[in-house]
């Protein structure tokens, strides 16, 4: 489909892009971030409403640069969910001022567009460009607390690591281009299926691409930026980083490796298996020692990525469903947890886990919600995180990856330590202060959405599974 024909199926992205520019310009005149945020939310809703329309004639768009299918739709909706929740959380984040609100929301919407494009990219070049777009926006958002050395340092480290990682990926993509003469995934897939891809160069090129995506998904050994960036970034942005780019990274991993490069991928499954085990173990073990909740959640998200990677290693239909369900659950519970962190830091000005002492007495509802999110992250039924783990382990067992499953469950026990540590401080210890701050409505709304989502996805996963089932590749 050429440009003119494609545009009408590109409407959701266009709406967001236009809204982004509108917010940027509007921000010059309107200095109320609540107004701008509401506008952004409206744009996101509109975009979501337009989405089904754009799938009526799903197919390759823009000369095969994009492939609009139900799989990409799923991840686009996840992206919009993430951005929507992050906007809601940002509205209640104390350190942000009204001053740069226009630019802030512009960047968030730009990130949304980039993620949506990335989710449907069907061309390695497009994947590279859209991932770079996500990264660049993320770097800037991480540095958004301009006067805060933590924020700046986090952004710079993130940037240096990320630039190198994408450079490596680019180098790998150039090899693939050299080997197949094209960067179009469908074409490459055809070539591979014709049996022309057994060279070492192809394998290494693939590995370099894997490395670049590992950076996005925070897999060992490309995870080192995660704790620093998560700790230093403004908390709503930490929520975004932990959910958005990771979800997209996995979407691309699945699309590239499992859909198109599957015959080549099988040779890599062993290495991916080792990566999965090391990722979850390292994340969990180091998280045990953390004193800062954002940093701890950073390590936890590394571990979570390890669990998700199990679904990827397995690579079956069930494995992919597990990845999708897990990511959905992960987005809800992780953003929920960070939303709680925002509210707590608003009142006590600290992210130190010890400062959460006695939160249940001070803020019972908040403590309860954070507990639910943490328990969901720990995989306690009947919450969404449990069902995600259940599907992941089911996929592993189905394909007889017993080692992987055992490593996974051992890790999910290890993980309980640090999640429960926070719960312990909240419920078992006495509060240091009884300060209660009014809680912004927007954050409450975000928390309620995440909370209901976590419960609903855990207790009644049927509609979610149906959605995922119809969104498979």
């Amino acid at each position: 489909m050429n440009v003119a024909e494609s545009v009408k199926f590109f409407l959701p992205e266009l709406i967001l892009a236009a809204s982004a520019v509108a917010v940027l310009i509007g921000g010059l005149f309107v200095k109320k971030r609540a107004v701008l945020g509401a506008f952004c939310l409206a744009a996101i809703l509109l975009s979501i409403l337009c989405m089904p329309h754009s799938y009526e004639a799903a197919g390759p768009l823009f000369s095969n640069m994009l492939l609009n299918d139900t799989f990409s739709e799923f991840f686009k909706e996840i992206s919009l969910l993430v951005i929507g929740l992050v906007i809601l959380v940002s509205l209640g984040y104390r350190p942000f001022s009204d001053e740069d609100a226009g630019e802030y929301y512009f960047l968030l919407l730009a990130a949304a567009v980039a993620m949506m494009v990335a989710a449907s990219s069907n061309n390695l070049m497009m994947i590279y460009i859209s991932l770079e777009a996500i990264s660049l926006v993320s770097y800037m958002l991480t540095a958004f607390l301009k006067r805060n050395p933590f924020s700046s340092e986090a952004a710079l480290k993130y940037f240096l690591f990320g630039a190198l990682a994408t450079g490596v990926m680019l180098y790998g993509i150039s090899f693939i281009y050299g080997l197949f003469g094209t960067t179009d995934l469908s074409a490459i897939s055809g070539a591979i299926n014709a049996g022309g891809a057994n060279s070492l160069a192809a394998a290494v090129a693939l590995l370099l691409v894997f490395a670049g995506l590992s950076f996005k998904c925070a897999l060992v050994p490309f995870h080192m930026w995660v704790p620093d960036a998560y700790q230093g970034a403004p908390t709503p942005i930490t929520a975004f980083l932990s959910a958005g780019p990771k979800a997209i990274g996995f979407a691309i991993l699945v699309r590239v490796f499992l859909k198109n490069f599957f015959p080549m991928f099988t040779g890599w499954a062993d290495i991916a298996q080792v990566v999965a085990i090391i990722t979850m173990t390292a994340g969990n073990i180091i998280a045990i020692n953390q004193e800062d909740i954002k940093r701890m959640l950073g390590y936890s998200s590394i571990a979570q990525a390890g669990y998700i990677l199990i679904g990827f290693v397995v690579g079956t239909s069930l494995g992919i469903q597990a990845i999708m369900y897990y990511l959905l659950a992960y987005v809800l519970m992780n953003i929920g947890a960070f939303g709680c962190v925002v509210l707590v830091s608003n009142s006590i000005k600290s992210d130190h886990i010890e400062e959460y002492s006695g939160l249940s007495k001070r803020e019972p509802v908040l403590a309860f919600m954070l507990t639910v999110f943490l328990l969901s992250l720990a995989g306690i039924p009947p919450l969404a995180g449990f069902f995600g783990k259940f599907l992941v382990f089911a996929a592993a067992i189905q394909s007889k990856y017993y080692m992987l499953a055992v490593a996974g469950v051992i890790n999910s026990v290890l993980a309980v330590f640090y999640y429960v540590k926070v719960v312990k401080f909240m419920y078992l210890n006495e509060p240091h202060t009884m300060v209660r701050e009014p809680k912004p409505l927007s954050v409450k709304l975000a928390l309620v959405i995440a909370f209901i989502g976590v419960l609903a996805a855990g207790l009644f996963p049927v509609p979610f599974l149906r959605w995922i089932g119809s969104s498979l590749l």
């Binding site: 249940s360 328990l375 306690i380 039924p381 009947p382 449990f386 259940f390 382990f393 089911a394 067992i397 189905q398 017993y402 499953a405 055992v406 469950v409 051992i410 999910s412 026990v413 309980v416 330590f417 429960v420 719960v423 312990k424 419920y427 078992l428 996963p461 049927v462 599974l465 149906r466 089932g469």
Partner: protein
């Protein structure tokens, strides 16, 4: 559609718990009232189930089955049979009595009763689910309220005990999850239905069965607890508040044993045969080792906790025997242990509430000051040490009888455990009730009406079953016969 009796039993406590969340924190009377009413009605519903239960029928009764997650063939599937009915009644009974026993809790009552009711839902659900997934969900739900109940309202080392309990049991249950998944994927069509798996599960290769069995074993053995996985138990018991100890000993330990009855043995027959001897040895270790360790304790509660380890050994021994006698004994032993040890913990709590110590060495001669308490304590102690005429004897005798048929030497050594049991229990009685009165306790009050109210029903059950065991055996024997026939055990 018939009245969903079992769903009501499970979810009534949860609904009441949610209701409590909307009651203002300072209306403690109302909160207690709701909790008591909910557990009381649950008990009545359980009694209704018992009365409506046809014990000549081996099949599941009151079955409720609704598709839950059809994509992976998970059903909301409940049912009750002779194996579960006793435990359901036990859970409802202890749930009600421990709720009344909880009136002594004065702090953070709203949270307490909410968690307490959630715990009840989890426990009842575990015993009533017939779908492995549902079973696992309820199984895990139990952990969370238990963690808080120990961690918030427990003794000085509550944090340690709570996390230890949580991690330990979770560690076991995640392996169980893997086994559940393995069963699912090896069955055809794929199913989580325990009944279908039991009727077709023999198709599994023996090697795989053994692996799956070990997975379930880790989950169940930690709950039971079987040596050497028992070390969470004394800590959890000692630190937990009295009503929670009651449920911990009375119900939670039974979840492990129930798992063996409901899942491990019927579904994994070959592995069960393969592991019979190790089970018997573990049962022996539990009985003798637990008794010896209990003898050395100076903390009253810890002693009772270790006695649980010892008593649960009979369950293992009965199971290992693969005989109809042993199975009946093991199942009955679970019920009896629940009642007796539940009562023991209530009694320890009565004493602790007054003396604020559990050090056995600090009591003495309380028999003169607390005659009624002494009488009740002696009854429960005697039941615990297996005195004929009280319920503990019947089940221990049957377990031993079953064990004797299959493992003569092991059972003979186990019988010696009974002597040690008598030793430490009587030593406890001597240190607490007998001898000259320790003047520290000159002003100690006897057991009050509320406490007595929680104990009398348990005592009645202890005596009734001891005198006339058919009361409960009738309910379970048909189901056990069916189970034994199914797994090819001995009718001895």
């Amino acid at each position: 559609m018939p009245f969903p009796l079992l769903s009501s039993v499970i979810f009534l406590p949860l609904l009441a718990g949610l209701l409590i969340l909307f009651v203002p924190k300072d209306r403690t009377g109302l909160i207690k009232g709701i909790a008591t009413a909910a557990t009381g009605i649950t008990l009545l519903l359980a009694v209704a189930a018992v009365l409506g239960f046809d014990y000549n029928e081996a099949a599941m009764q009151f079955v409720e089955k609704v598709s839950w997650i059809p994509q992976v063939n998970i059903n909301y599937h409940l049912g009750i049979d002779g194996i579960s009915i006793g435990l359901v009644f036990l859970t409802a009974l202890l749930g009600f009595l421990a709720c009344i026993g909880s009136y002594g809790i004065k702090e953070r009552q709203k949270e307490y009763y909410f968690l307490y009711l959630l715990l009840n839902t989890g426990m009842l659900g575990t015993f009533l689910s017939l779908d492995l997934f549902l079973f696992y969900v309820f199984w895990e739900i139990v952990l969370v309220p238990m963690y808080f109940l120990i961690g918030i309202w427990g003794g000085p080392r509550r944090e340690y005990a709570a996390i230890k309990f949580f991690i330990y049991t979770l560690a076991g249950s995640v392996f169980m999850l893997l086994s559940i998944l393995a069963l699912y994927f090896t069955s055809s069509p794929h199913t989580f239905n325990m009944l279908e798996l039991a009727s077709s599960g023999s198709g599994l290769a023996k090697g795989l069965q053994i692996m799956v069995f070990i997975g379930f074993y880790l989950g169940f053995a930690i709950k039971v607890p079987v040596f050497p996985f028992h070390t969470w138990l004394p800590d959890a018991h000692v630190e937990a508040p009295t009503p929670i100890s009651v449920l911990l000993a009375g119900v939670l330990l039974k979840m492990g044993g129930y798992g063996f009855f409901r899942i491990s043995y019927p579904i994994l027959k070959d592995a069960a045969v393969y592991f019979a001897l190790p089970f018997a040895v573990l049962g022996l270790i539990n009985i003798v080792y637990g008794a010896f360790v209990a003898m050395a304790q100076t903390d009253f509660k810890k002693m009772v906790a270790y006695s649980s380890v010892s008593h649960m050994g009979f369950v293992m021994l009965g199971l290992a025997s693969m005989t109809v006698t042993g199975f009946n004994g093991a199942l009955l032993q679970m019920f009896n242990h629940g009642v007796i040890t539940g009562g023991m913990f209530l009694l320890v709590g009565v004493l602790y509430d007054r003396a604020h110590t559990r050090d056995l060495g600090k009591f003495g001669g309380l028999g003169t000051k607390m005659p009624v308490y002494s009488g009740v304590l002696i009854v429960f102690t005697l039941a615990s040490l297996g005195l004929p005429g009280l319920s503990g004897f019947v089940s221990e005798f049957m377990s031993l009888m079953g064990g004797f048929i299959s493992f003569r030497l092991i059972t003979i050594i186990s019988v010696l455990g009974i002597v040690i049991t008598a030793g430490y229990f009587l030593y406890m009685i001597q240190r607490v009730l007998l001898g000259p009165l320790n003047n520290t306790w000159a002003g100690i009050a006897d057991i009050n009406k509320r406490e007595l109210f929680t104990l009398v029903p348990l005592m009645a059950v202890v005596i009734a079953i001891g005198v006339y065991p058919l009361l409960i055996l009738n309910y379970q024997s048909v189901a056990i016969t069916e189970l034994i026939r199914n797994i090819g055990g001995l009718f001895l």
